[in-house]
Symmetry: C2
Subunit: 320 residues, 2 copies
């Protein structure tokens, strides 16, 4: 989803990190649609990053910027141990190794910018009231562990000059356009998206559940900003908790009420799911994203703003 | 070195975690000597943990306790990128996977205690004055990154019940008996050990260099204590910074002077090595190891005590 929106913005801007885009290579397990109206060549391919030869193939053209967003999401990485590690750790590492080996072939002059989608799932309870940039990564899911491992690899490869990497710890991105994926966090979006389109949504966790969130538009902005930033200024710590704001499921529902009225709110069906509620309760709800803000990353500050962005960018009205 | 001392203490105690030892399997890249006076069967083998089949072979006998101390040390992991990752990450993970697969073969009832030698090299500057148990792991060496990754794996495998693991972040262990290995931290030991045996030692870093240290005897004690502890009490955070105390190279030299006199101190040859000094300066010097102490781990509190332990346990007098 973020990949698709990133492609659309690449097409809209035609430039990244102050340079005109000559070509992009968009890859997913199903072939991505070419971004509409792009003024550059777009190669869109269905490739499995978990296949041994994919990473080398991707890097052979020596891209200047690599966005790595591919992942087995939290719920699936928890239910399928092997698949989670195969994609989120092994395939990710193979991508990093492909860059290192391409760099060797280039005589050491190839050193791309690598922007990685990490997650606040690298953190696990117990938390202080507010999590600052010095707080330990102690994940409570395999997904979080795999993301935290990728962060350590990115810091080490970057420190050694093998690529110039940054890991963006994304907040919960809401409101995601449909259809739902298997991320445990999916309901944070569906309880807004589905009622606004006249459909029922299931809420598996309590209204007091806190989340740290930002819009898809803000998330795409993080990737663009990260591609352009002078990362030497970060020093060796290459993982940044992205800005967002803290809200609760209850406050989400109030924002929904303001836009969609009581009829929309009535479409939320409470159906407690212990496993999801447990996982989500282990996620942190409040951060001091001071470092990221100091480096110029920006996000929204209210859930009303997030709903407005959803209505502008992604809303599909209910068919009467 | 710690492995050898661990073997000696297994033989001396004849029991671990409150149970009599029936057999031990000691493995290193060169065959370990059988511990003297052991009242149990000791299989001592030269095996390379980096070879694909070694881990499964080690775990097939379903040991109750697995001590994993094998590692490419910091200096070598920094100079040989591939070897460091092959041993410290890949072979370690293969060991964990071997346990998981053996557990499957055992119908889910096999769940050994796994005690892993991690390191305070998982931390990297800038530091607060004192590093507490909530401080982030931001290593500045590949060795530290590999140890931090192993910690994340141990927490995840333990959380999922695949084994019952703990990672001990060892202080700098001094005074190591000779000969020197390729650890960057080796000089912290050799500046005491070599002069006390009438030999010259090289000091590559300034006297103000801080270290967080414990004796080899205390380190062996950590492993024994970790094997016996009820790890459920730790919850999901399975990495513990071990107790020790903070000292400086200058204070080490003063302790040497008290035991060996001016003659011993004169055998320290200052030969600044920028690479070593840089690595060591990125290591933390002071911890609040509150959590480990609360769980009953103990260490020394002065360098004089450490020198005394070296003289008792390992000192080889100079040949006149």
């Amino acid at each position: 989803m973020i990949g698709r929106k990133l492609g659309a913005r690449l097409a809209a801007d035609g430039a990244i990190a102050g340079r005109q885009i000559k070509s992009v290579h968009l890859v997913d397990v199903v072939a991505p649609a070419p971004p509409a109206g792009a003024g550059f060549a777009a190669l869109c391919e269905a490739l499995d990053l978990a296949a041994p030869s994919t990473a080398a193939k991707l890097i052979a053209a020596r891209p200047d910027v690599v966005f790595h967003l591919a992942a087995v999401v939290s719920g699936e990485a928890e239910s399928d141990f092997d698949k989670g590690y195969a994609v989120n750790l092994d395939a990710t590492r193979r991508l990093f190794e492909a860059i290192r080996h391409e760099r060797d072939r280039a005589g050491g002059v190839y050193r791309p910018r690598l922007v990685y989608a990490s997650s606040i799932a690298v953190f696990g309870a117990p938390f202080p009231e507010t999590i600052d940039d010095d707080f330990l990564a102690a994940p409570l899911t395999s997904y979080g562990a795999q993301k935290a491992i990728a962060e350590l690899l990115i810091a080490d490869y970057s420190r050694r000059g093998l690529f110039d990497g940054i890991a963006l710890r994304l907040p919960t991105v809401v409101v995601r356009p449909g259809p739902a994926n298997r991320a445990v966090s999916g309901f944070f979006s569906s309880i807004i998206r589905e009622p606004l389109s006249g459909r029922e949504a299931i809420l598996p966790a309590p209204e007091a559940t806190q989340l740290w969130c930002a819009s898809p538009r803000a998330a795409v902005g993080f990737f663009f900003h990260a591609a352009a930033l002078d990362l030497d200024r970060l020093g060796p710590r290459r993982s940044l908790t992205m800005p967002g704001f803290s809200t609760t499921v209850g406050e989400q529902i109030e924002a929904l009420r303001r836009v969609g009225g009581e009829a929309a709110v009535r479409l939320i069906r409470r159906q407690s799911d212990e496993s999801s509620a447990h996982i989500v309760s282990g996620w942190p709800g409040r951060f001091d994203a001071r470092r990221a803000r100091a480096f110029g990353f920006v996000a929204e500050s209210s859930f009303d703003e997030i709903v407005r962005i959803y209505l502008e960018d992604d809303h599909v009205p209910a068919v009467a």
